[in-house]
């Protein structure tokens, strides 16, 4: 086994095991993106979400913990945290809907675009969180494209699933090299390395 700490890990899993990444998608993962663009542009142009999916399905959006009402005027900057959800139940669920009739109920925390915010286009990294119906609907596309996750989280996931071996991970490549379940425990994790690139493909 290489003495070097892994910098990329690629999983191939069967479709019944995709749920093991569900928590990661909810807790938040990082992706590179062109920042300084609008929320709408980032989701539709960069992440390839159809505009109708954004308008009909993604009904609840938080930018840095603040509910967003206008996806066209809201700008995304480097280091932002973006959380996406389908429509939510309950009075408060309805209250958090983008541009919903009850938005006044949470006006004290609503996201408001600051004039001084930079809108210069540049490469940056944002944190993305996916909730509820969106986990299974758009989560796999992000996993396939590649996400960055705290090394500790992936280390723990592999540790937790090592006894299930090939039944969960059909294939696991570390820095491009296939490894078997017996090698899981011997991976040399570097405590100082904060993020690791992860790709996940679902076995056809």
């Amino acid at each position: 086994m290489s003495e070097q700490s892994p910098s990329t890990i690629s999983f191939i899993i069967d479709k019944n095991s995709i749920s093991i990444f569900s928590i990661i998608l909810q807790q938040g993962f990082k992706v590179f993106a062109k920042v300084g663009s609008s929320l709408e542009s980032m989701l539709c142009d960069q992440f390839a979400l159809p505009p109708e999916y954004l308008s009909n399905r993604i009904q609840t959006i938080f930018l840095d913990g603040k509910p967003v009402d206008d996806v066209t005027s809201t700008m995304i900057t480097d280091g932002a945290t973006l959380a996406l959800s389908a429509a939510m139940p309950g009075l408060v669920g309805a209250t958090f809907r983008s541009g919903g009739a009850l938005s006044v109920f949470r006006s004290s925390i609503t996201h408001r675009e600051e004039e001084e915010k930079s809108n210069i286009s540049a490469q940056g990294m944002i944190t993305l969180k996916l909730f509820n119906l969106l986990v299974s609907e758009i989560g796999p596309a992000f996993l396939e494209r590649g996400i960055w996750v705290e090394t500790e989280i992936i280390k723990n996931l592999i540790e937790e699933k090592k006894t299930e071996g090939k039944t969960v991970f059909k294939s696991l490549k570390v820095d491009g090299r296939e490894i078997g379940p017996d090698e899981f425990s011997r991976l040399n994790w570097n405590e100082g390395q904060k993020l690791i690139e992860v790709t996940v493909q679902i076995e056809k």
Binding site: K66, P89, A94, K129
Partner: protein, 578 residues
């Protein structure tokens, strides 16, 4: 549904039953019926556990019919928790069975001469009341098992657990679900304590031989019901989100918003929230052979409940709702779903309100009785309540009493009732409802449809602070009306977004009762219910000083947004100016 059953527990020789016509209560159902009877017949200054209080159990106007999602039931009384009027709402089979048996309400009244416990049996042939002290201090599960052995697996039970017998202010009235388990509860305000004060342990409903209630205009009713169901199924909340994840789907969203009350309302985010969110809960339920999609009563097409099995695959409890997972989870810093499910099971068995108990345990943790995050300690505290130890009786009387006894300032109650799972500093509009509702802090009080649909109160300007006051008022009016129909409040999302679905609801009511109600009439119904409730509370001694949040919500900033509750008192006083 043309009669009221009155059970007088004061009668010499034990309780007696009297059936009477509807009289002036004709046309009322659910909350309209409970608040109608309580406001007229109960002296507002009476002791909630005394002879003059009454417990009213009333199915909704559409319950017992083929109308979808119409199986909600209301339980009303003067509340031992708040001292004001109370309507607690429940699912389960009770509404359908009671309505099919022809009863618009059961009224328990008077005060028993001794501590004999009674069971009431109601079927198509009439009412039988028998003493049964073998039920004493049994939990709801054991009580239902005994009834099942005697009456079979088709009957519905309305029962109290140990908490109700001990007349604790957090005691619930339990209703059995489709699997004949006592998992559905009229939870809030201590209605179970009032049932206990009447000496009635269980009411058994056997609707064998009774058909569905028939609509006055079958064709119009059937067509409207079809449209209504289609509206519910096509909406992403009622057709997808709720069936897939249940109400606990809200955990991640509230946490992200910084409005998830954590560690006894001391902060707005819980770092372990994803471990107890609806997504994780549904996965565990499926992995253990339970179910994440299940209705709480026959005729439910939303199916927001489920079955939670233990690690060995055995039934533990129904799918804990968002409020329960929050109250026993994030609010107490507990993030183990098995612990939370066990707490839910114990609450259901002892007959305790999960919101009140979660809030109370968090107050106790703030006082140092247990450590935040200690799930085992939380379970032991609930068990103390079930056993009726001195500490248990203090906790079983709710957060306000526990806070007073334990010397805690941060006690999240309004009118003595614990707040649910939304911090009013982050969601200030719901703080308006918490403060002003007749029920005490209640998340369901301002729930239903917007001003835009009902056309009450004029249009709301979302950019002005008074918009929150107007919206809260309109939502409270609409919710009172929906509570009268027996419809589940979760229909709100579909009728909020889809005018055709709202019209279908009106058409169902009109088709069933042969009426021609408009949206304005629904508004008037809601206003009339709220007016009666406000009047009762005023006569019970409530003033505008009771329509306030605890002081610390104005002074303590809530992380992460650093916000306090900023709605002014004079604005709160405008909510009921219509």
């Amino acid at each position: 549904m043309d009669k009221i059953l009155r059970i007088n527990v004061s009668a010499e020789g034990g309780p007696t039953a009297l059936e009477e016509g509807l009289g002036e209560y004709a046309g009322l159902g659910g909350r309209g019926m409970t608040s109608g009877i309580i406001s007229k017949e109960v002296p507002p200054l009476c002791h909630p556990l005394g002879k003059d209080n009454k417990l009213v159990i009333a199915p909704g106007m559409l319950s017992g019919s083929a109308a979808a999602v119409s199986g909600r039931i209301s339980v009303g009384c003067k509340s031992p928790l708040t001292g004001g009027i109370k309507e607690a709402n429940s699912g389960g089979q009770g509404a359908q069975a009671l309505a099919r048996l022809g009863y618009a309400a059961i009224v328990l009244e008077g005060k028993p001469a001794d501590d004999t416990l009674y069971k009431v049996f109601i079927n198509k042939d009439g009412v039988t009341i028998e003493p049964d002290n073998s039920l004493k201090m049994l939990g709801n599960y054991a009580t239902v098992e005994k009834i099942k052995a005697a009456c079979g697996d088709k009957v519905c039970c309305i029962s109290i657990g140990q908490a109700g017998e001990m007349k604790l202010s957090a005691a619930t009235v339990a209703f059995t679900d489709m699997e004949q388990r006592p998992t559905r509860h009229a939870g809030r305000g201590g209605v179970g304590a009032v049932m206990g004060s009447k000496g009635i342990k269980v009411i058994v409903l056997d609707d064998t031989g009774m058909g569905m209630r028939k609509p006055k205009n079958p064709d119009a009713f059937k067509s409207a019901n079809k449209e209504f169901v289609a509206g519910l199924k096509q909406h992403p909340v009622t057709g997808e989100g709720l069936p897939a994840f249940g109400t606990n789907v809200l955990t991640n969203v509230l946490n992200e918003a910084g409005g998830y009350p954590t560690k006894n309302f001391s902060t707005g985010q819980f770092k372990e929230s994803t471990k107890i969110a609806g997504e994780a809960l549904a996965q565990i339920e499926k992995d253990r052979g339970g179910s994440a999609t299940q209705g709480c009563h026959r005729g439910c097409v939303i199916q927001c409940s489920g079955t939670y099995n233990d690690k060995d695959g055995n039934f533990l409890t129904k799918q804990p709702e968002y409020e329960t997972v929050w109250a026993h989870g994030g609010n107490c810093c507990i993030y183990d779903l098995d612990t939370i499910a066990m707490l839910d099971r114990l609450d259901d068995d002892f007959g305790l309100d999960t919101i009140e108990m979660g809030a109370t345990i968090a107050v106790a943790m703030d006082a140092g009785i247990a450590e935040f995050g200690d799930g085992e300690a939380a379970i032991n505290l609930i068990k103390e309540v079930g056993k009726g130890t001195p500490l248990g009786r203090i906790l079983g009387n709710g957060a306000k009493v526990a806070g007073q006894v334990l010397g805690v300032e941060r006690v999240p109650v309004v009118k003595g009732q614990a707040m649910p799972a939304y911090d009013p500093r982050a969601v200030q509009g719901i703080g308006v409802t918490y403060a002003t509702t007749t029920m005490g802090a209640d998340h369901t009080a301002g729930y239903a449809v917007t001003a835009n649909i009902l056309g009450v109160g004029g249009s709301v300007d979302a950019l002005k602070p008074e918009g929150q006051i107007d919206l809260s008022r309109n939502l409270q009016i609409a919710t009172a009306a929906i509570d009268a129909t027996g419809m589940c409040l979760f229909i709100a999302f579909a009728i909020l977004d889809q005018p055709k679905t709202f019209q279908a609801l009106l058409d169902i009511i009109n088709g069933f009762h042969g009426l021609s109600l408009t949206a304005d009439d629904v508004t008037e119904l809601g206003k009339s219910i709220l007016s009666k409730e406000r009047d009762f509370n005023a006569r019970a001694g409530f003033t505008n000083k009771d329509d306030r949040l605890p002081e610390y919500f104005k002074n303590e900033k809530l992380a992460p947004h650093g916000v306090t509750f900023a709605v002014k008192d004079e604005e709160l006083d405008q909510v009921f100016n219509w």
